[in-house]
Amino acid sequence: MRELSLNILDVAHNSIAAGASLLEIVVEENSASCEMLIGIYDNGCGMSADEVQNVTDPFFTTRTTRRIGLGVPLFKQAAEMTGGAFRVESRKNAGTRITAQFKTDSVDFIPLGDICSTILMLITMNTNRDFLYRRIIDGREFALDTRELKDILGDVPLNEPEVAEWMRGFIEEQTQIISGGVK
């Protein structure tokens, strides 16, 4: 993958396949310690202890189901090759938490890329689910919660072009603010 945001898009699809109604995606950066943490947390069907053990094995997938495949191993590799860490926690019928830690000063660190497009695509292509996107840069944070947006929008769907445009503007603006780019 050329961008970590593509790994996020890919791995989040596992949560959707697991029937999650709420997905939380966290991207946290700390410039002093040169670290980035990406969390994908869902309330889907979860996995057994056995499945959790096998989930990072690229040869675990069976062709008929294609439930995991290369997505998780590639994400794990992207984290570990920077000197970071990768963790999968899951409980059957409770949900799955995937956490990837990156060292951003490593030469092998793949840039985050267009995270805004990833989040928007997940939201607009899965309007029947809820997403909580949290972005944290050096302790400053903003969040986009589709449950909040749905309360305001009523029966106007999140994939209505003007709504999608508003969300893009909101994410870009807030990201700039917490990066210290706009006063």
């Binding site: 898009l9 890919d10 495949g69 590639l74 909040e148 305001i152 106007v156 709504v163």
Partner: protein
Amino acid sequence: MKTLEELNAIREKAKATMTVREDNSDVIRVVVGMATCGIAAGARPVLNSFVEEVARRRLKNVTVTQTGCIGMCQYEPIVEVFEKGKEKVTYVKMTADKVARIVNEHLVNGNVVTEFAVGSFTK
């Protein structure tokens, strides 16, 4: 600043202009493969372009959705177009640049863009 009040205004406007989808029988379905293979090959901008182009032209009879692995990973990004009463058309090695032509020639005017379709690559 984007505010939640703005979203309120968008809702009022959208409610007034939202039109009911046209008769389901002539709906065209555009399906983009978004498994690991598709995403790695560049499916995200392709899907984005379809959504934007369809919205820009206000094509009410076209839906854009995603699916998993279509099975020919070496030809990703792959886009399938389903239209009732017609054979499925599979576009391969898609890029965002090719989208406008497919929307214009195929989705609007009904002419398959054969040079982007799977047949012209596998022969």
